[in-house]
């Protein structure tokens, strides 16, 4: 902060600095700190190739976490996203293998629509049971987490569901490996999903209603907002985001297995929380969430590059990060 001395109107700047919401800035500062740490540990970390690789690999969690930002800022929670991803991937591949439509291209396009439809339906199921049944989201999505996983295992007959057509695989692969204007396609998908998510959450009345419901459900109700409709809609958005992540994920391996999407719910919720969204609802930060997803992947990357901590402990490190992030959020909010 010594730089402020060079600015003539230091008081104005200081005031602006004090006005900045610290919970909004914290994730980006943490990301910068991780960059420094990464560079110190291994000079290769800052290479363009490594960074683009990290970004690409973070895309599944980043896209799912954008949906989770809606659910969580409306005061909800979705633990089923990992299992849902496996289910959507399984059904999508089964459809692609069915040969229901002539032409690989038409088949792939329809497959993507099917995936998004299945994701939206799965989200609607979560949302409907939570709002109509008036059951805690934690319990409902814990239940559907088991249901989605189990159905996937059953569909896969305990093994994996792989794309049969080599031609279609080759056609689909660029969605994960392709590069457009110097950036990998999955990174473009993150950017597009982020822009759309931010537009909906910050600029539309639906987004305002999401924040209102998460801020105080009673006030929203007394203001004439259809609380249940808004909450259910956030789960549908979550389902669609899961499906988009699946569309990016399937071409990577061309298969869904019984362990696809394992612990993704942990990573998605962690990304949202370290991005500055309040777990109790009422605050949503799309760009913070994406930043959080990057951080998780970078931490993994640094662990691989460094040999300081075994990469098998990645889950433990991510678990620790979410707890620390909550502590930091709590402290920053108290100071406000």
């Amino acid at each position: 902060m010594t730089d402020t001395k060079t600015i003539t109107d230091t008081r104005g700047f200081g005031r602006k600095l004090a006005d900045l919401d610290k919970t909004a800035v914290a994730p980006f500062l943490a990301l910068a700190a991780l960059f420094v740490l990464g560079a110190l540990v291994n000079p290769n970390f800052l290479s363009i190739d490594n960074l683009l690789n990290v970004l690409t690999r973070s895309s599944f969690i980043a896209i799912i976490a954008i949906g989770a930002t809606f659910v969580i800022s409306a005061g909800g929670l979705d633990l089923s996203v990992g299992s849902m991803a496996a289910l959507v991937a399984g059904i999508m591949i089964l459809f692609l293998n069915s040969g229901a439509i002539d032409g690989d291209m038409a088949m792939l396009a329809t497959g993507i629509v099917v995936a998004i439809g299945v994701g939206a339906l799965a989200g609607l199921l979560n949302g409907a049971v939570i709002t109509i049944g008036k059951i805690e989201p934690f319990i409902v999505t814990l239940g559907t987490m088991a249901i989605f996983r189990s159905v996937t295992v059953w569909l896969a007959d305990g093994g994996s569901i792989a794309m049969k057509s080599i031609a279609m695989r080759n056609m689909f692969r660029p969605v994960y490996t392709g590069v457009f204007l110097g950036l990998p396609i999955p990174v473009w998908v993150i950017i597009a999903a982020g822009l759309l998510g931010a537009f909906i959450l910050y600029k539309t009345s639906f987004g305002r209603h999401v924040i209102a419901v998460g801020s105080n459900e009673d006030v929203a109700k007394y203001s004439g907002i259809h609380v249940n409709r808004v909450r259910a809609m956030t789960y549908i958005i979550q389902g669609i985001c899961v499906a988009i992540a699946v569309v990016v994920y399937v071409p990577r391996l061309g298969a869904a297995t019984t362990t696809t999407g394992m612990l993704w719910e942990l990573q998605a919720i962690t990304a949202v929380v370290i991005g500055g969204t309040a777990l109790r609802g009422g605050v949503g930060r799309i760009w913070g969430t994406i930043c959080g997803a990057f951080m998780l992947e970078i931490v993994g990357n640094i662990m691989v590059l460094s040999n300081i901590v075994s990469e098998y402990l990645i889950g433990a490190v991510q678990g620790t990060i979410i707890i620390i992030a909550m502590l930091v959020q709590r402290t920053l909010q108290k100071k406000k």
Partner: protein
């Protein structure tokens, strides 16, 4: 210093020495000095928002003063919290009910200090002692009853019993009779006299003046956060108390009553039921009329009107301008031009953690959108207009609603609901927790609404307020509308008769305990 027993009698057991409390830049209490002697009932009176509850929280360790000190037995003390204060023998009986609804009476009374036998809780002994404690308050409640099955008045008694379980030298009662019937009030006043006779110091907060006159030895009057006077109770008549509390001629508080009510019925309600809260309610509201709903807390007023506007399940006939209507959700009634402003401003009216603009437009966002996009510029213009029209005083435009004073929150809530351009406005407890200046503004605003041909329903526990502004008052008791008072008959006595269902001789009531 208080070792000497002869001197001890003259030392106040609890003392405030020039204490003040500020929340942010707003000082809500200024330089209060007060001495409470053992064996004295010291009443604190004042309008809502005068600072009574804040003072009590400072004296009982719930809040820390920004200036000044609290002393016990002449020694300055600084309570770490309410528990610390309790250890020193100072207990506060809260105005709100703070009990666990799913636990029994005995479990609540002993919560946090359960009696044990070995490793296990001694339920039998706790039940026995609880029954005794409740009986000593003149009530007969089975100690194994769940709190959720008790009436508000009985919960209040359990709460008092719980407070008195702690060894106490000073007991603070914060509006203990707000939800009690005259008979229950009488029993409570007797308990307080017994405590006093045992040498306990009592601080008694209320704005029911006859009751204060009957129980207090000394009376301290607060107004706008300042101590106006401390007098012997015998020197003050209720009329004098009211004058000191308000600090001006009461008649100026309310706008000139104009006969704005027409003969045209805008709202007709027939045999309306809200399960568990209101039964068989029928009433009409005329164009330009201000209609009051009086009754004790828990009589079902709020729930009846919430039922009518679609915030709760309710059944019955509702006609709007002669046409039958059925509001399934509050959205429907809003669309029909009826708005309801909740008594619970902080819990149901405003998003405290969001800014003024977000709050203002929340119920009418569709008016501020083009396509899917919110037009922030138009929202800002609307906020400018609201700030001027409703005289909302905020230091900065980007404040959060929770940072406004109670009065400004109420004005913001009014502004928000008026954006719906309603023809019928229902306001629940319009001036609760609001300073007197803002009260006057709100009364004027309500009168202006009626003058402009709108109809207003005011639900209030402040009988004076209803009498001051309404054309007609309906009284509810135990879920039913039991009476209507108009014109000359609009007096506090008349309302109390309907609200409690008993005609009481006040003199008889308050002398009963003195024998």
């Amino acid at each position: 210093m208080s070792d000497n027993p002869t001197k001890a009698a003259a030392v106040p057991v609890l003392e405030a020495r020039g204490i003040a409390k500020a929340f942010g830049p707003v000082e809500v209490l200024t330089d209060i000095s007060l001495r409470v002697m053992p064996g004295e009932v010291h009443a604190i009176i004042g309008e809502n928002g005068a600072g009574k509850s804040t003072l009590m929280k400072l004296l009982s360790g719930h809040l820390q003063p920004t200036r000044g000190t609290v002393a016990m037995d002449g020694e300055p003390v600084s309570f770490a919290g309410p528990v610390d204060a309790e250890h020193r023998g100072l207990v506060l009986v809260h105005q709100e009910i703070l009990l666990a609804p799913d636990l029994t009476v005995a479990q609540n009374i002993f919560m946090g200090r359960e009696l044990k036998r070995g490793l296990m809780v001694n339920d039998r002994e706790m039940n026995r002692q609880s029954a005794e404690a409740v009986q000593s308050l003149g009530a007969d409640i089975d100690p194994t009853t769940q709190i959720s099955r008790l009436s508000i008045a009985r919960r209040q008694l359990v709460q008092i019993a719980r407070a008195l379980q702690v060894p106490h030298r000073v007991v603070i009662f914060d509006e203990p009779t707000a939800s009690l019937t005259p008979f229950e009030t009488e029993a409570l006043l007797k308990v307080i006299r017994d405590l006093r006779d045992r040498g306990v110091a009592i601080l008694y907060i209320s704005h029911r003046l006859p009751e204060v006159g009957a129980i207090a030895d000394r009376i301290t009057v607060l107004r706008d956060g300042k101590l106006i006077a401390t007098r012997e109770a015998s020197e003050l008549q209720p009329v004098d108390m009211a004058r000191l509390m308000v600090g001006r001629d009461m008649s100026k508080l309310y706008p000139e009553r104009e006969d704005t009510a027409s003969h045209q019925n805008v709202l007709e309600v027939q045999n309306f039921d809200v399960p568990g809260y209101a039964r068989d309610a029928s009433f009409t509201l005329r164009k330009g009329e201000i209609l009051g709903f009086a009754g004790l807390i828990g009589a079902g007023r709020t729930e009846l009107l919430e039922g009518i506007v679609g915030l709760r399940t309710g059944h019955g006939e509702v006609k709007l301008n002669g046409n039958p209507v059925k509001f399934k959700t509050v959205r429907d009634s809003m669309a029909a031009g009826i708005v309801y402003l909740s008594e619970d401003r902080k819990g149901k009216g405003l998003l405290l953690a969001q800014d003024l603009r977000t709050n203002l437009t929340l119920a009418t966002l569709e008016k501020f959108t083009r396509g899917p996009l919110i037009e922030r510029k138009r929202e800002d213009n609307s906020l400018d207009k609201a700030i001027t029209d409703f005289d909302i005083r905020a230091r900065r435009r980007d404040l959060l609603a929770g940072q406004l004073s109670g009065g400004n929150q109420q004005k913001l809530l009014l502004a928000k609901m008026m954006l719906l351009e309603p023809s019928i406005v229902i306001i629940d407890e319009p001036t609760r927790g609001i300073d007197i200046g803002t009260k006057e503004q709100i009364y004027k605003f309500i009168a202006d609404l009626a003058k402009a041909g709108k109809s207003v329903i005011v639900i209030s526990s402040e009988m004076q307020e209803l009498i001051g502004i309404c054309h007609r008052i309906l009284v509810m008791r135990s879920s039913r509308i039991v009476g209507e008072v108009t014109g000359e008959a609009m007096t506090e006595d008349e309302i109390v008769v309907y609200a409690t269902g008993v005609k009481i001789n006040e003199a008889e009531l308050y002398s009963a305990g003195n024998a």
